[in-house]
């Protein structure tokens, strides 16, 4: 890897069917400082949130503080001790694709719990931003992304790594 390449594509996946329930980025290298997930998603049958589990952890170790607007009002809510973490509560619709971008900071450190922050939404429904916590000091080596129902054909998932100068 050439020195100075600080923002790199790690993996990309595009769904080819309309019945994909999850996608997993596995064997994520620990050589970056932050991860950035960029998704453009469309649901098959009904509007769906986007949620995540790290390293296969299904314990009650996830929490999330959210802000969303639905065109009429702004709402904040919190979910604590969940078995999965929201990346985008408003998520993605059936009619159009909706983007979600999430930053996972210091994902490979083994000293602190992991905090991530993202934003998402789609023009016909919602816009949201949220901060999430995974209460684990393990380095994130895999993340599984789930839809409330199904990811439709043509959904894209791209994971990037950002290095710092340390």
């Amino acid at each position: 890897m050439a020195a100075g390449n600080t923002y790199e594509a790690i993996a990309t996946f595009t769904t080819t069917t309309s019945n994909t329930t999850s996608y997993t980025f596995s064997s994520i290298p620990s050589t970056y400082t932050d991860l950035v997930l960029i998704c453009n998603l469309k649901a098959t049958s009904s509007n769906s949130s986007l949620v995540v589990r790290f390293n296969g952890d299904s314990g009650s170790n996830y929490s999330n503080t959210q802000l969303y607007g639905n065109g009429t009002s702004a709402v904040s809510q919190r979910f604590t001790s969940q078995t999965e973490g929201y990346l985008s509560f408003s998520g993605f619709p059936t009619a159009t694709f909706g983007p979600t971008i999430v930053n996972f900071m210091n994902y490979a450190n083994t000293t602190t719990n992991k905090t991530y922050i993202g934003r998402g939404g789609y023009a016909s429904g919602y816009v949201d931003t949220s901060v999430g916590l995974w209460r684990s000091t393990a380095a994130i080596s895999s993340m599984t992304l789930y839809a409330g129902n199904f990811f439709d054909t043509g959904c894209t998932f791209s994971l990037y790594g950002i290095k710092n100068s340390a």
Binding site: A2, A3, G4, N5, T6, Y7, T33, D34, S63, N64, T65, Q66, L67, A74, V75, S76, Q77, R78, T80, S81, N103, M105, N106, N109, T111, T112, N113, K114, T115, Y116, I117, R119, T129, S130, V131, G132, L133, R135, T137, I162, K163, N164, S165, A166
Partner: protein, 196 residues
């Protein structure tokens, strides 16, 4: 690598990087066991179009386990700064603003707690930082989530804009916790984004 690029902070280990791409790591600081009162990126080269700061931060504040953070450029104080923000604390949404300030105060929940190791995180974009014809603006998205465990201050997500009323190129950025110090493991990374 610029020989004058610097990182100033107490108890911080800093490393430099030789930039070569469109998105380059300029400098990084990690706070050591003694904590740090401030973090400063200095001698920032003017060769990029935009800057981005990415951080994971914790405060040494004993009460509540959260802290906010102020941002200043080029060592300038006075009344050069203003900001607007939108805050959501898990139940309420509120907005705030301030004008003619001595810093851009990123309020509410920018730094997390060391008590249970709940870091705050954020991304700060500083646009056209080297332009000498424009005032400088930043955009901030950050927050803390503490699984609802700290009564009264369980976390928040904050979206803010800030203005530095100066046409000088930004050559240094200083971050200062409002009520305590940066705690160990806090990490700030400065990146440069090039244009064509």
């Amino acid at each position: 690598m610029s020989p004058i690029l610097g990182i100033y902070a107490s108890q911080i280990s800093g490393h430099l990087w030789a930039p070569s791409g469109a998105y380059d790591s300029i400098a990084t600081t990690t706070v050591g066991a003694g904590g740090a009162a401030t973090i400063t990126f200095s001698s920032i080269p003017s060769t990029y179009t935009h800057l981005q700061v990415r951080y994971m931060g914790m405060t040494s504040r004993a009460t509540y386990g959260q802290d906010a953070m102020n941002v200043a450029f080029n060592g300038v104080g006075g009344t050069s700064y203003s900001r607007h923000d939108l805050r959501a604390d898990g139940s309420a949404v509120s907005a705030g603003s301030a004008t003619s300030q001595g810093t851009i105060d990123l309020n509410y929940a920018t730094l997390g707690t060391t008590v249970s190791s709940y870091p705050g995180v954020g991304v700060i974009d500083i646009l056209d930082y080297a332009n000498t014809s424009k005032y400088k603006t930043l955009r901030y998205l950050g927050g803390v989530d503490e699984n609802g465990t700290i009564a009264g201050y369980p976390g928040a997500v904050v979206y803010a804009s800030g203005l530095f009323q100066s046409t000088s190129a930004i050559s240094s950025i200083t971050f200062t916790p409002q009520l305590a110090a940066f705690a160990q493991y806090t990490s700030f990374a400065l990146y440069g984004i090039k244009g064509n």
